[in-house]
Amino acid sequence: MSTIKEFLVRVDAYAATSGQSISTLSRKLLNDGKGIARLKSGGQCTLKTLNTAFTRLDKFENEFFGKNNLNMSHLERLEAEAIHIMREVVAQCENPVMLYSVGKDSSVMLHLAVKAFYPSRPPFPLMHVDTTWKFKEMIKFRDRRAKEVGMELIVHINPDGLAKNIGPFTHGSAIHTDIMKTQALKQALNKYHFDAAFGGARRDEEKSRAKERILSFRSAQHRWDAKNQRPELWDIYNTRVNKGESIRAFPLSNWTELDIWQYIYRENIEIPDLYLSKKRPVVEKDGVLILVDDDRMPIGPDDIIKEKMVRFRTLGCYPLTGAVESKADTLLDVIQEMLLTTTSERQGRIIDLDSDASMEQKKEEGYF
């Protein structure tokens, strides 16, 4: 009796992984398309038939799982694709750079870069466009990681913005983002004459991203022309640019947020603690919880600083990045919460709440 049960369990498992229907398997194992269905509903068969069926099942399983050792999971496919893209850019561009924003996507991208060129070190520098308003913890994490992987780290701050003391509290998020981020990035790319820059953007983040190429061309003014993108077929990437023009390369284009988290989990990739919940001092501004990261934060008479269990779903400038209340203080808890949550990732980010098509507009203007 129990052998029939064991047989059925194995058949179900094999059917699920091999993708064959129960009736097909039934025919192959018992020479009878309905045999397994009958056994399932309590039917019996001779010991001889069952033994033959077991022998056949063994053979199928061996064949399948033998071949299966060579199967590539979706994460392995995504990893290989990203590595291919990085190698392609490095082999063909004169002066590539990796834009490192310290977030989880950047962490994954850095990890992939280390893998792509192993045993060599990634043959390009990391660059962080610092708005001076990033979480302090991000800066510490950034400096430590760059040192650990042994890559050069370029930090660029827009000197004009710095001189004018541009900040989100005084100038508003739009002006701050434009000057300290968009303009700063253009300055940095021009200053170092980079002809290719890796970025961690993903197509699933936002609708207009879904149409962006993996290698996305930027004019000498760093503009993106959505209607006039280079066709991108197979995995042949056109990296050619004229002087002053450049390429943004997005090796994570085809990853989803879940892929990123799963990969971080699988590869044990280090990410800043800010993603994990702990007691942090926050103030509620317009319904958004803002971390009191330093004393530049204006605390009005009505603002009350509260210690709350919070974490961040994206990392950026602390005044522009809303915290979420959460008990998730381990990576697994964070992933679990992400999977159970019903609002999408960008909700926490303040820039694109204005209008539905705002991201597209920003990109045309040169925002990464």
Partner: protein, 637 residues
């Protein structure tokens, strides 16, 4: 985002472990403007609960403003991205959407149905393994459907699902479904699809999309999602010969020299013999290096770094292949070209041609015809405009290693780049190599010996090996043939083994029979040389007169006599096949050297003294002779 699974709440690590082994499928959806593609994808996302609440709120809001479904949620709004197209209500570029189930992760290329956007569909199809073609059940197979089927077949997609949509509007009428299937199969017969599956669906209402519908009980096949979850697309690329385009030479220090790239097809194991295009050099795999540790085996799709047992010069642009299946190389091709730029193609102008890992200058020398994708007819043209597909001759500034696109999508594809603007202006799929004489102007040519030879990039000849039994003729001939094969030459060996068993089965070893044997060999060899092959004949051929007869038949230019000179005592002492012993014992009559004479050649083109040189050296001597005398054009060692 994925199917909601109870495990997420109860045991998150078990859930993640289970999700790790998901497989991967890329597919393309295509159909006419109103066939409901975006609605279908929206439906797949919606029904597999992949839509966040805020997204849903946002599209509900927009559905009222610009949707086409009255008060119901317009699922197409989930998919249509750019601002302009949201207003026009159509998709105008390729958009990639992602969703996953417990079995697979999917990437969907959503491509437009408008005539002028052929290029976008080709883009989406180039990376897809499956195409989902939407047909409006009310209108059946339209011109557009034919066009889309043609484009996906041109791009090498072998598995097609025909989703017959809006079945709800025709009350799930089975006879209409069947008629569409018959019509589609009829015209798709010659498109090279390995598998076509027909599914009756309603994207709007969800019938047969995720689960089977009660409204079409007559339908016994899988739901669309079930099909996509289970279709096997891996088998083919694993069974193809190993191809590894070298992307980047990995040289961290003087002790390590690795070749980094992604395996384009096939499987490689430690120790496997490999051959490098373009040099033709051979070696064996020493290590398969990855950051996670060295592997014993690697397969198509993996990004790895190979090290080899021998020091060979390899750089980006080279392709490492399995030693058993070297790649062909050529600098002239017939290719299908799809033009992708508003500026038309200029035949004769130099463009940059980029393959998997190589970039060379190239021009279109002869535009044979354009394919009218409405009726697949061939139209003579002078140029190709945006979205037009043609068949043309490509002339490259340097030879490249390649496979036909129909055999291998990775090593048979190329993009065409404008040298001034650097834009990707066209793409090509290689059909086969051509090689035409440089002094021939464009005119219809009769197929003759010369043309056949040029096509093979060689000058054919008969290499006549003569010498005593056991002198080493066959050994040297076989080595030579392997070397020629490495250099992508076309060869054939005629010897006693393959002729005496068939064509010459009726002949013995008397003088008369020996003469007739050689006469037949000469005639067969002459036909092979005429076919353009470098032909190797390996026969004792003891009589001067018969060898002269062969020479006269072929002409001096095509006849190379190679005397494998081994003294009788040496040959007899080797006695590989034990024939001399038998002859001495009288068991074999008329054995050359024992009781039948051998007449030494007086002026052979090549004489090999096997007491002085090894078989390997001998084959190199012969190869050098061929090279020096122009039998191997484009010879590159």
């Amino acid at each position: 985002m994925s199917y909601r699974d109870d495990l997420i709440e109860t045991d998150i690590s078990a859930y993640l472990n289970a999700q790790e082994n998901k497989s991967f499928l890329r597919f393309i959806t295509c159909g006419s403007v109103d066939d409901g593609k975006s609605t279908l994808i929206g439906r797949l996302l919606y029904d597999s609960k992949l839509i966040y609440e805020d997204q849903l709120v946002s599209i509900k809001k927009e559905s009222k403003k610009s949707g086409t479904q009255g008060d119901a949620v317009d699922l197409a709004l989930l998919v249509d991205g750019l601002a302009a197209e949201r207003e026009q209500g159509i998709t105008i570029d390729v958009a990639y959407q992602f969703f996953s189930t417990n079995k697979r992760k999917f990437i969907v290329a959503d491509t437009p149905g408008h005539v002028q956007y052929t290029r976008n569909m080709a883009t989406g199809a180039s990376t897809s393994d499956v195409a989902v073609l939407l047909i409006d059940a009310r209108y059946g197979v339209q011109e557009q459907s034919r066009r889309h089927a043609y484009i996906v077949s041109l791009l090498g997609v072998k598995q097609v699902v025909v989703a017959i949509n809006k079945m709800d509007l025709i009350d799930f009428d089975q006879s209409i479904f069947n008629t569409i299937e018959v019509n589609f199969r009829k015209f798709a017969k010659n498109l090279g699809f390995s598998d076509i599956t027909f599914i009756p669906i309603s994207a709007l209402e969800g019938d047969n999309v995720i689960t089977l519908s009660d409204r079409s009980r007559w339908y016994k096949g899988p739901s669309l999602l079930h099909f996509l979850e289970h279709v096997d697309v891996e088998k083919n690329t694993l069974e193809l010969p190993f191809r590894f385009p070298v992307q980047w030479v990995n040289r961290p220090n003087l002790d390590f020299r690795g070749f980094s790239g992604t395996i384009a097809s096939g499987v490689i194991n430690l120790g496997d013999s490999i051959i490098v295009s373009s040099s033709g050099k051979r070696s064996n795999v020493k290590e398969i290096v990855t950051h996670a540790g060295n592997l014993k085996t690697a397969r198509e799709g993996m990004a790895i770094t190979l090290t080899l047992k021998d020091q060979i010069d390899i750089s980006r642009g080279d392709i490492i292949s399995s030693g058993n299946s070297p790649m062909a190389q050529a600098d002239q091709f017939q290719a299908h070209i799809l033009w992708m730029n508003e500026k038309e193609l200029f035949p004769g102008r130099q463009y940059l041609l980029k393959t998997a890992n190589n970039t060379v200058l190239a021009s279109v020398s002869n535009l044979k015809y354009k394919i009218d994708i409405n009726d697949f007819s061939e139209v003579a043209v002078k140029t190709l405009a945006l979205n037009e597909i043609g068949v043309a001759t490509l002339v490259l500034s340097a030879p490249i290693a390649f496979d036909a696109y129909s055999d291998n999508r990775k090593t048979g594809s190329l993009i065409i780049i404008d040298r001034q603007t650097n834009e990707t202006v066209g793409v090509g799929m290689l059909d086969f190599a051509l090689r035409r004489a440089s002094n021939v102007v464009w005119q219809e040519l009769e197929v003759n010996k010369l043309i056949r030879a040029k096509q093979k990039n060689q000058n054919p000849a008969l290499l006549w090996f003569t010498g005593l039994s056991g002198s080493g003729k066959s050994t040297i001939a076989n080595l030579l043939e392997k070397r020629l094969l490495d250099l992508n030459r076309h060869t054939y060996i005629l010897d006693g083994d393959n002729l005496r068993h068939g064509l010459n089965r009726d002949l013995g070893f008397t003088k008369v029979d020996r003469v007739e044997n050689i006469r037949r060999v000469s005639e067969v060899a002459s036909l092979m040389v005429d076919a353009g092959l470098i032909t190797i004949a390996s026969f004792i051929s003891p009589y001067k007169a018969e060898r002269q007869m062969a020479r006269n038949l072929l002409g001096d230019k095509f006849f190379i006599e190679i005397f494998i000179n081994t003294p009788l005592d040496v040959a007899e002492s080797r006695d590989v096949k034990g024939l001399y012993a038998k002859a001495r014992a009288g068991e074999i009559k008329n054995f050359t050297g024992i009781d039948s004479e051998y007449e030494n050649p007086e002026n052979p083109e090549i004489e090999i003294d096997t007491t002085k040189v090894s078989a390997n050296q001998a084959s190199e001597i012969i190869l050098s002779y061929l090279k020096d005398n122009g039998y191997l054009s484009g010879y590159n060692l």
